[in-house]
Amino acid sequence: MMDKVIIKTTGLTKKYGDFTAVDNLNLEIYEGEIFGLLGPNGAGKTTTLLMLLGLTEPTEGTAEVAGCDATKETLRVKRIVGYLPDNVGFYEDMTGRENLRFTGQLNGLEPDIIEERIEKLLERVKLSDVRDKKVGTYSRGMKQRLGIADTLMKDPKIIILDEPTLGLDPEGVREMLDLITELSKKDNRTIIISSHLLHQIQKICDRVGIFVKGNLLAIGPIETLGEKVFENEPITLEIEVLPLDGKVIEMINSINGISDIKTIEGKVIIQSHVEIRKELVKLLSQNDYEIRYLKQRGRELDDIYSRYFAGKE
């Protein structure tokens, strides 16, 4: 278990006039993990990242990055944090190599270290062939990969990626995710990814936080997230049994904790406040009923997705 906290926010709040973009955020991110900050557009993800980097000041609360106050010691924070903004831009009339060199110089690196790093990083993000072409000729995917190389120029302990897969084709997304995983597992860097594309990001995150309307809805490993989000809501089970007769309904109804039961198109829909699957299966099999289908509704990531992410674009 990774347990050393590297980023910690306490009561972090950002208001724009009456609008609260981030509301009292308490978040801990551990060293070496990939943390996914997921949420629909306008949920306050980018604002949170900006506050971590000291690019905007919190209205209230503090953000601590590797022991530094992100608002007061911005230079120290920026020395160890690499940031890839969404829609990253480069100087289009400079080559990929020149752009990276400029970043290296701004970080106060020695010239020979800069050149060495540029070669290595361009190799790593598969841009060696186009390193001396102007960035204006790069495709979106190439720019995004150059962006990763750019954040790595300072050899950061922490990398913050804002919507790194946005606008990439499926192949580009796969490459980007592989690259991010490698940065975490191989180089042992802490990575924070913000995204509204839950399906893409969930595969590689160790933990995720679901962010909706400035509030952190749930946080934890992806497997347990559904449970947390829908904690206070009834569990809905769909079951298909053979034979479907009145007796079986009665039998199911006798289980403790069931609040509602109905039959729709040959399926029995059961609502309960507690977990009853085990008991249900046992009861049915003891009485020689055949279970053809059993599914729990509304606890999957898909359901989180459709509830919070879809239709809010």
């Binding site: 690019l55 230079l75 920026k78 831009g89 480069f90 009339d93 701004l106």
Partner: protein, 315 residues
């Protein structure tokens, strides 16, 4: 670390300017107007030499005289100053913002102010380079045309005039940069600078005339006191405009005969010897103007600081 950040940004901005087409367009326009005005003035001077008392300060008159068809060099510079500042600065910050490079830049361990400092200093360097190269080149052309070398006094005056021109153009650069921080769109900031330019160059003077004539109406019955107040008000309010400040300073510097920029009564003139002022005396007359020009540069810059240091940088 901070200092090197500023230095690196400065070098990059300078290189960007020198490679940009915009810089060449500006240089081209300035050079064309400068040379043509000097050429016209030089021709007039050559014809007039030896005829009247026009033999004094020939070199200075190259810059101030006009043959009627082409305006003088100084009026061209006064007119084109805003254009130079505008061209070099109107998109300095919001251009980076729109291209998405600003947030990447800000994520690097450099102080925020080094970004605007570096950009401003690079712009000023470009302006200084242009002004001095042009000043020397057309001065040389003038010498060749008229055959009259400048005196030391004249050299001091021209040098001070060129420095003044740099400050004047820097003001417009600082203003353009300020607008590029305040407005998100480059077109908006460019238009804002043009609006300020037109306002100061044309409308301010008209407004002041209307206001002064309203408060101190001039007619056949108005007293001397009213007439004086009317004129004073016009004069002082017009000095709000940096263009007026610049023009008055230029005239005083390049025309040693100018002894005062305000009002002089008949009594004060009694006993005055009608001769040219030495350079330092001329400089003394316009010293407040000079300081004001530097001050408005600083005001623009201070406002830029206040906004930029607190601004949220989003892609």
């Amino acid at each position: 670390m901070n200092k090197s950040g500023l230095w690196i940004l400065y070098k990059k901005e300078l290189a960007d300017h020198l490679h940009s087409k915009r810089f060449f367009i500006v240089l081209f326009i300035i050079a064309i107007t400068g040379f043509s005005s000097i050429f016209a003035a030089g021709k007039g001077i050559v014809e007039a030499i030896g005829k009247q008392e026009s033999d004094t300060f020939v070199f200075l008159r190259l810059f101030t005289a006009s043959d009627g068809s082409i305006p003088s060099f100084i009026s061209f510079m006064s007119f084109l100053g805003p254009f130079v500042g505008l061209a070099l600065g109107f998109d300095s910050i919001n251009g980076e913002r729109n291209r998405g490079t600003l947030s990447r830049l800000m994520a690097q361990p450099i102080a925020r102010d080094s970004i605007i400092n570096g950009k401003f200093l690079a712009g000023v360097t470009i302006i200084a380079l242009m002004v001095f190269v042009l000043g020397v080149a057309i001065g040389a052309l003038g010498i060749i045309m008229t055959g009259v070398p400048p005196t030391v006094d004249e050299l001091f005056r021209i040098f001070t005039y060129l420095v003044l021109t740099i400050f004047y153009m820097s003001f417009w650069l600082a203003l353009s940069q300020l607008f590029s921080i305040l407005f998100k769109q480059t077109a908006t900031s460019a238009l804002a600078v043009i609006a300020v330019w037109l306002f100061l160059a044309i409308f301010l003077g008209l407004l002041i005339n209307v206001l002064a004539d309203f408060l101190y109406p001039l007619n056949s019955t108005s007293t001397l006191d009213i007439a004086l107040k009317n004129s004073k008000m016009k004069l002082y309010l017009n000095r709000i405009s940096p263009t007026t400040l610049y023009d008055e300073t230029t005239i005083t510097l390049l025309n040693p005969g100018v002894r005062s920029l305000g009002f002089v009564s008949q009594e004060q003139l009694i006993g005055a010897i009608p001769s040219a002022l030495p350079f330092l005396q001329s400089l003394m007359i316009i010293w407040p103007h000079f300081v004001s020009l530097i001050a408005i540069n600083m005001i623009c810059f201070t406002i830029s600081y206040i906004y930029f240091m607190k601004q949220e940088i989003r892609a």
